[in-house]
C-alpha cells in the first residue's frame, strides 16, 4: 500500500472527491486483496471494499491525525472482512467462486498455468482456516505487518496473533 500524504487526507475530509479518489487508488488494492483472501469470493470482496471506503469517507472528519492512517485502515478492512465472512457462514454454506476471482486477473498465459494451479490449491486450503487465522496470515505474509501491528488491527493481544499464525501454518503445512 502506498503512503497517503496527510494533506490528501485533510482534503478528502473536507469532501474533496478527487482527493478521496486518490486515496482510493492508493489503497483499494490492499483492501480488496485482504478481503479476497479472507472471503475467497469476488463479489463479497467487492462489497467489503465498497463498504470500507464509504465508512472511510464518512469518518475522515473524525480521523485522529495522531494515529496512523494505515493502522486505522488495516483495522476497518480486517474487521469488515471478518464480519462479512462470519455473517456469510451463519447464513449460508460457504461458496467459493475461484473462476470469478481468476477472471479479475490478467488473461492467463500458458507458462503461468502451473503457478495458477498452485495458487488455486493454496486458496482452497486457506478457505478452511477460521477468518482470524486468515486475516493474521494475510496481514503478516502478504502485507508484512509485525505482530504488534496485527494485534492493533485486530484488537487482540500479541499472543493471540502468535497462536493464530501457528495454527494457520500448521494446518496449511500438514495438508
Amino acid at each position: 500500500m502506498k503512503d497517503i500524504p496527510l494533506e490528501l487526507i485533510q482534503r478528502a475530509a473536507d469532501k474533496d472527491i478527487q482527493a478521496f479518489e486518490e486515496i482510493y487508488k492508493g489503497c483499494c488494492g490492499f483492501v480488496y486483496s485482504v478481503a479476497l483472501k479472507i472471503l475467497n469470493n469476488n463479489q463479497d470482496a467487492q462489497d467489503v471494499t465498497q463498504d470500507v471506503f464509504v465508512k472511510l469517507y464518512n469518518s475522515l472528519k473524525g480521523f485522529n491525525f495522531k494515529s496512523s492512517f494505515k493502522t486505522w485502515l488495516y483495522r476497518i478492512t480486517a474487521n469488515s472482512a471478518i464480519n462479512a465472512y462470519n455473517k456469510r457462514k451463519r447464513e449460508t454454506i460457504p461458496r467459493v467462486d475461484f473462476e470469478a476471482i481468476k477472471d479479475t486477473l490478467a488473461a492467463p498465459e500458458k507458462q503461468d498455468y502451473l503457478k495458477q494451479e498452485n495458487e488455486k490449491k493454496l486458496d482452497s486450503m486457506m478457505d478452511i482456516l477460521p477468518a482470524q487465522q486468515k486475516a493474521c496470515l494475510t496481514l503478516r505474509e502478504i502485507q508484512g505487518l509485525s505482530y504488534q501491528e496485527i494485534a492493533r488491527a485486530l484488537k487482540v493481544n500479541k499472543n493471540s496473533v502468535r497462536t493464530w499464525l501457528r495454527r494457520a501454518r500448521k494446518t496449511l503445512i500438514d495438508n
Partner: protein, 157 residues
C-alpha cells in the same frame, strides 16, 4: 531447547522475525544438526513464498463508481432523523447517541413488525435485524469510528 520448542518457534516467531538474536542463533545451531526441524523450516519458507507470490489485485472498475455514487448522493430533502440528530447532539455525546439511535430504531422496528407481520415471520426478521445491528455497532467500535462523530443507523437509509 528441544525439537518441540524449536518447532513452535519455527512456525511463528522465527519465521516472522520476531525473535532476539540470541534465540535465533540457538535455533540456527539446532537446525544445522537436526534434519527433521530443517525440513519444517523449509516447508514454512516455501509456504511463505507461495503466499507472497499472490500479488495485490485491484477491484473491478465499477467498485469505485458505486462508492462515488454512494458518497455523493444529494441529501437535500428534509430528513427527520438529521433534524433530531442536530437537536439531540447538543445534549448527548455522539458515541452514546449512536447507541441511542440503534435502540430507538430497534423499538420502532418492533412496533412496526408487530402491526404488520405474523408471529413466525416477525421473530425471524427481528432476529436478523438485531444480529446485523449489533454487528454494525461492533464493527464501528472496533474501527474506532464512533470516536468523535455520530452514526446514522442504516435502517432508514
Amino acid at each position: 531447547m528441544d525439537c518441540k520448542e524449536i518447532r513452535k518457534l519455527l512456525i511463528s516467531d522465527y519465521a516472522d522475525n520476531e525473535i532476539g538474536l540470541k534465540t535465533k542463533q540457538i535455533i540456527q545451531g539446532h537446525l544445522s544438526n537436526c534434519p527433521a526441524c530443517r525440513e519444517l523450516e523449509q516447508k514454512v519458507a516455501s509456504l511463505s513464498n507461495k503466499l507472497k507470490e499472490a500479488k495485490e489485485i485491484l477491484p473491478a472498475e465499477e467498485v469505485w463508481q458505486k462508492i462515488r455514487a454512494e458518497i455523493t448522493q444529494p441529501q437535500e430533502a428534509f430528513n427527520l432523523l438529521d433534524w433530531l440528530k442536530d437537536k439531540l447532539s447538543l445534549f448527548i455525546p455522539p458515541k452514546r447517541l449512536a447507541y441511542a439511535y440503534a435502540a430507538s430504531a430497534i423499538m420502532i422496528l418492533f412496533v412496526f413488525l408487530f402491526i404488520t407481520q405474523t408471529r413466525g415471520n416477525r421473530e425471524k426478521t427481528v432476529e436478523n435485524y438485531i444480529i446485523e445491528q449489533v454487528e454494525f455497532m461492533d464493527s464501528l467500535d472496533a474501527a474506532g469510528i464512533t470516536n468523535g462523530l455520530y452514526i446514522e443507523p442504516d435502517i432508514f437509509s
